[in-house]
């Protein structure tokens, strides 16, 4: 396998952009990443798109072929990958593989999404019967996505004594980090009291403890070692890159299932834990070597639970770590210096790409007021509907 490097990264701001088409968001992110790489559209030898979930041409979401047809009809191969909110991470993995295999020298991965307001509705195309659990969860009990995460949160409170204040503190940290990120949707400090006073969505989760559905787009340009040397500047290698699916017996209450056949010897959120394990193994390091993580904090519970699921902390240890500042930017494991889904915002299929952008900015020392000092190894972790997981490890 040939080594793969980051040539350029770029993102559109996260927010609500009702007057900006999804394709425009994608082109803006691609232009920023190409500019960062010092390349033109015609230099790309391949493009991978994370297939968007909520809009896009021809009824199949945003696709890379649509992007090149809009801006540069060079005839390059394109590839479109699904995977729900993990699609961005899976797209980076596909682009990585095209270069690692020696087929291409320069390949980009892009994600762009415009999200509907409020609770995420059921996607079209499935029958109205028991074969579609996304249908069942609505008609039998109206279980919204936050309800699933709330069940996990309540169980954590029972198992480890996690308090409402600690959960709120996770959201406070994400908001504080996002203040120093010009691309973040929310850049305003909030207090534990404000989080706890915000509307209850699914008890014990308040609205400020749940990801903010947003519009956004991000792109990364990957290349061979020769291409990275041509670009100049700090060399950032994709040291680990993996995808995974869920394992039988995973105890997670997975959206949109109505049951789980939980087995105590199977890792929780196994699709992401599996990807993280593989990405770390490829990078030749373990959780103890990672300087910062960008993880998919759909809720405050994820900020606490995921570092434990992936071996960064012991089960139940995250509460202490968070309260003692160890997840802060200057802590032992900075979590989501970008501001995370809770404050940077969430734009589903674009998120896994944005995470990799943030890792690259951190490792190059370009993260401004949210810079993790001396970061050498950084990891992303993202989960997608349908038991999809992806993880990327970058090395400076």
């Amino acid at each position: 396998m040939k080594p793969v490097y980051i040539l350029g990264v770029g993102a559109h701001a996260w927010g609500k952009f009702p007057d900006k088409p999804q394709l425009r968001l994608a082109l803006d992110a691609m232009q920023a990443a190409l500019h960062d790489a010092g390349l033109a559209w015609r230099d790309l030898q391949g493009l991978v798109a994370a297939s968007s979930r909520f809009e896009g041409g021809m009824g199949w979401g945003l696709h890379a072929n649509e992007i090149v047809q809009a801006v540069s009809e060079s005839g390059i191969p394109t590839c479109n990958v699904g995977g729900g909110c993990a699609a961005g991470g899976i797209a980076v993995h596909a682009a990585f593989s095209m270069i690692a295999s020696g087929q291409c020298e320069v390949v980009a991965a892009v994600g762009a999404e415009r999200m509907p307001k409020g609770f995420i509705p059921r996607p079209p195309g499935s029958p109205d019967d028991i074969s579609d659990t996304d249908y069942l969860r609505w008609v039998t009990m109206g279980a919204t996505n936050p309800a699933y995460w709330a069940l996990e949160t309540r169980r954590r409170m029972h198992d480890f004594g996690t308090t409402a204040e600690t959960l709120a503190l996770a959201s406070v940290l994400m908001h504080r980090n996002a203040m120093a990120n010009p691309l973040a949707r929310y850049r305003k400090e909030c207090s534990v009291e404000e989080v706890l006073a915000s509307a209850m969505v699914s008890d014990p989760l308040h609205i400020l403890e749940i990801c903010a559905v947003s519009d956004g787009a991000a792109a990364v340009v990957l290349g061979s070692e020769e291409q990275a040397r041509r670009r100049g500047g700090p060399m950032v290698q994709v040291a680990g890159c993996a995808t995974a699916t869920g394992q039988f017996g995973d105890p997670a209450v997975r959206v949109p299932m109505v049951s789980t056949a939980a087995r105590s010897d199977v890792p929780h959120t196994s699709e992401v834990a599996g990807a993280v394990r593989r990405a770390c193994a490829m990078a030749g390091g373990g959780p103890q070597d990672i300087d910062l993580v960008e993880l998919a904090d759909n809720t405050a519970w994820h900020v606490l639970a995921w570092p434990e699921f992936f071996g960064f902390f012991e089960p139940g240890q995250s509460d202490w770590m968070l309260r003692h500042g160890e997840m802060d930017i200057d802590g032992c494991l900075p979590v989501n210096p970008s501001g995370g889904f809770l404050s940077f915002g969430e734009a589903t299929t674009a998120q896994g790409v944005l995470q990799v952008c943030e890792l690259a900015w951190q490792l190059r020392g370009q993260a401004g007021g949210r810079q993790v000092q001396g970061a050498k190894l950084a990891l992303s972790a993202v989960l997608g509907l349908g038991a999809n997981g992806a993880s990327v490890v970058l090395k400076a």
Partner: protein
């Protein structure tokens, strides 16, 4: 399973009524794993048999976790006289944890570890006047059952 005036939210989901109410799932004859709702195949990677059969599930279980759904869900969900309600995760002896609405308890009385039982209850009355039933779980004491 239902009278002329009653229908279920989805076919092949549950059967019976009153104390005889049961969820319908699947059991793999090869490895014994249960699934809910009925599944096309066994999902155990160690199992090569994958001969799945319909199986009715236990009516009793233990509450593993719960939440209060405080916002009205989007329109695919229908409920007459909507107000915030509890959703729970109930662990059955078959090793399955089942998600469902709770009744007979409140945010203040519900506790993880409670003994629960399955009940069928109307969610709403449809355009033809039929009551549409869903499955719920309630604390066993609330039904007058011995704990």
């Amino acid at each position: 399973m239902t009278t002329l005036q009653q229908a279920s939210v989805a076919r092949d989901l549950f059967q019976g009524s009153g104390d005889g109410a049961r969820l319908i799932g699947t059991r793999c004859a090869g490895c014994g794993t249960h699934y809910f709702p009925k599944s096309l195949s066994c999902r155990n990677p160690q199992c090569d048999d994958k001969q799945v059969q319909d199986a009715v599930l236990s009516r009793h279980g233990v509450l593993y976790s719960y939440t209060l759904q405080a916002y009205r869900p989007p329109p695919l969900f229908r409920m007459d006289d909507w107000s915030p309600y509890l959703i729970g995760l109930v662990e059955l002896p078959e090793g399955l944890r089942i998600l469902g609405m709770l009744r007979g308890c409140t945010r203040d009385t519900v506790r993880i570890g409670m003994a629960m039982e399955l009940v069928l209850e109307p969610l709403y009355r449809d355009e033809s006047g039929q009551e549409v039933l869903t499955y719920k779980f309630q604390p066993r004491m609330a039904a007058g059952a011995t704990p």
